[in-house]
Each structure stands twice: as structure tokens, then as C-alpha cells.
């Protein structure tokens, strides 16, 4: 296999991590919706936590994206 093709494949493989991130973000927001539906009064406190969890999970996606960019463009 020549290097250019392997680079493209490697970048593609690097972003497989996004599958886990998708599951994680889905989990976070499903839990957020459930908890707000059960106790709407807690919305203000729970919402901040949910957003924090979203940002921390999204960071994993961006690490993968960063690796993909590094593989592609360096």
C-alpha cells in the first residue's frame, strides 16, 4: 500500500472514536431530558452539569479530530 492511501485510511480510522462520543453525548442528553422531565424545578442546576458533561465528551471527539488532522496535514 502506498503511503498516501495509508495516510487517508489512518485518518479515517482515527475518527472511529466519534462513535463512542456519539453514544456518550446521546446518553448525557437523554439523562438530562429524563431528569428535567421528572423534576422540572432542578432544571437550572442540572442543565449546567449537562452542558459540562457535553463539553467534556465533545473534547474527546476533538482529540480524535486533531489526530486525524495531524495525520492528514503533517
Amino acid at each position: 500500500m502506498d503511503v498516501a492511501a495509508a495516510t487517508k485510511l489512518g485518518a479515517g480510522i482515527a475518527v472511529i472514536a466519534l462513535a463512542g462520543v456519539g453514544i456518550g453525548i446521546g446518553n448525557i442528553f437523554s439523562a438530562l431530558v429524563t431528569s428535567i422531565a421528572r423534576n422540572p424545578a432542578a432544571r437550572d442546576q442540572v442543565f449546567g452539569l449537562g452542558i459540562l458533561g457535553f463539553a467534556l465528551t465533545e473534547a474527546v471527539a476533538l482529540f480524535a479530530l486533531l489526530i486525524a488532522f495531524l495525520i492528514l496535514f503533517t
Binding site: 452542558i51 459540562l52 463539553a55 467534556l56 465533545e58 473534547a59 476533538l62 482529540f63 479530530l65 486533531l66
Partner: protein, 233 residues
């Protein structure tokens, strides 16, 4: 002529935006706090809301001791927020999209957190790496894990902000290049170019959200680390 060291120290575009951002925050706080009206006007309300928002965050996360660290968190939040927001202005520059800037900020946070922890607890700080109640024979396993997770904090803190900003701006660039490519193709392509342009407009709204969110995350993680430093667990 500048010497070999001084020739590196050029005043770059990033520095200009940093100065503008810091100036904007100072302007908001100075002219926002100036009227001292009981019923605040818009500018005063903005200044008071931003103050109260970060103040409540610091107190909620760190505890009553958070009052002492509030100015630090406030400065960090607004420096990052201004970097993210000013970077969204076309032809501007996002200094938080440089790993050098975010890594410097994250290292500063972690050094300050460690100093705070050492000042508050002295050498008892090192019990942080071994949780209470854990079986002693697990120490060879737990202590390295805790040390590594402590040391990886600045890495994740800096890369999160940097990668968010870079990814957002790369998305802009990708869709903008679609506009150029389609626009150059034919008449039909020029009509089709409206779609990536529309996506870019939507992305701008999304990036405004991300800019505020990442500044918030940076500040709240700093608060959480400070909480660990002040309370040890």
C-alpha cells in the same frame, strides 16, 4: 537594530487582539460600574450580570473560600471568552486557537492550583494521590494513576480549548471552500453555492455558542481544580 532575542519579540496580530480583548473587558467593567445606579442601565446590567455569574460559579464550585479566587477565575473566563468571540469576526484572529496560548493558560492554572494546595495543606497535599479508605496494597496501582491524571489536567485543559477553536474554524474554511468551488463551476453551481453559504451562517451561530461554552468550561474546570486544591477531595 534588535538583538537576536529581541528580534523574536515582535508584536503580532495575536497580541493586538489580546490587547483589544482585554481593553474591551476593562471598558465594560469601568463604564459599567461607573453609574452606580440602583436600577442599572444596559451597560451596568451587563457588567453586574457577568460579575454575578462568575461569582456564583466560583462560590458554588469552590465553596466559601472561592471568594479569594474569584478575580483569577473572572480574568481567565473573560480572556478566553474575548479570544473566542473576537476570533469570530471575519479577518480577525483567534488567539485561543494557538496551542501556545492555551497551553500557557492551562500551565498557569495548574501551577497556581498546586501552589494553592501546597500553601493550604503543606505536605499533606500528597495524600491527594491516595484516596482515604483505599486498601494499602493497591497503592502501587492507585498512586501512579492519580499522578498521571493530575499531570494530564493541563494537557486536556489546553487541548480542549485549542481543538474546539481550530475545529470550528476549519469547518468554516471547508464550507467556504465549497462555496468557492461551486461558484466557479457553472451557473447551476453558483445557485448551489448558496447552500454551503447558508450552512456557514448557521455555523457562525453554533460557533458563538461554542465560544461561550468553552470559556465557561475552562473557567468551571479551573474552579473544580481549585476546589480539589482547597478541600483535598
Amino acid at each position: 537594530m534588535a538583538g537576536p532575542t529581541a528580534s523574536w519579540l515582535t508584536f503580532t496580530q495575536a497580541n493586538i487582539i489580546m490587547v483589544i480583548g482585554a481593553g474591551l473587558v476593562l471598558w465594560l467593567l469601568y463604564y459599567g460600574a461607573k453609574p452606580r445606579a440602583v436600577v442599572p442601565g444596559r451597560l451596568q446590567a451587563a457588567a453586574e450580570l457577568s460579575h454575578d455569574f462568575i461569582y456564583r460559579m466560583a462560590i458554588d464550585q469552590i465553596g466559601p473560600e472561592g471568594k479569594a479566587y474569584f478575580p483569577f477565575v473572572f480574568t481567565l473566563f473573560f480572556f478566553v471568552l474575548m479570544g473566542n468571540l473576537l476570533g469570530l469576526i471575519p479577518f480577525s484572529f483567534t488567539y485561543t486557537s494557538h496551542i501556545a496560548v492555551t497551553a500557557a493558560l492551562a500551565l498557569m492554572v495548574i501551577v497556581i492550583v498546586t501552589i494553592v494546595a501546597l500553601r493550604e495543606h503543606g505536605l499533606k497535599f500528597f495524600t491527594y494521590f491516595f484516596p482515604d479508605g483505599a486498601p494499602v496494597f493497591l497503592a502501587p496501582l492507585i498512586v501512579p494513576i492519580e499522578v498521571i491524571s493530575y499531570l494530564s489536567r493541563p494537557v486536556s485543559l489546553s487541548i480542549r480549548l485549542f481543538a474546539n477553536m481550530v475545529a470550528g474554524h476549519v469547518m468554516f474554511a471547508v464550507f467556504a471552500s465549497f462555496v468557492v468551488m461551486l461558484g466557479g463551476a457553472s451557473i447551476l453551481g453558483a445557485v448551489g453555492a448558496a447552500f454551503p453559504l447558508a450552512i456557514n451562517v448557521v455555523l457562525m451561530g453554533f460557533e458563538l455558542l461554542v465560544a461561550a461554552l468553552q470559556a465557561y468550561v475552562f473557567a468551571i474546570l479551573t474552579c473544580i481544580y481549585l476546589h480539589d486544591a482547597v478541600h483535598l477531595h
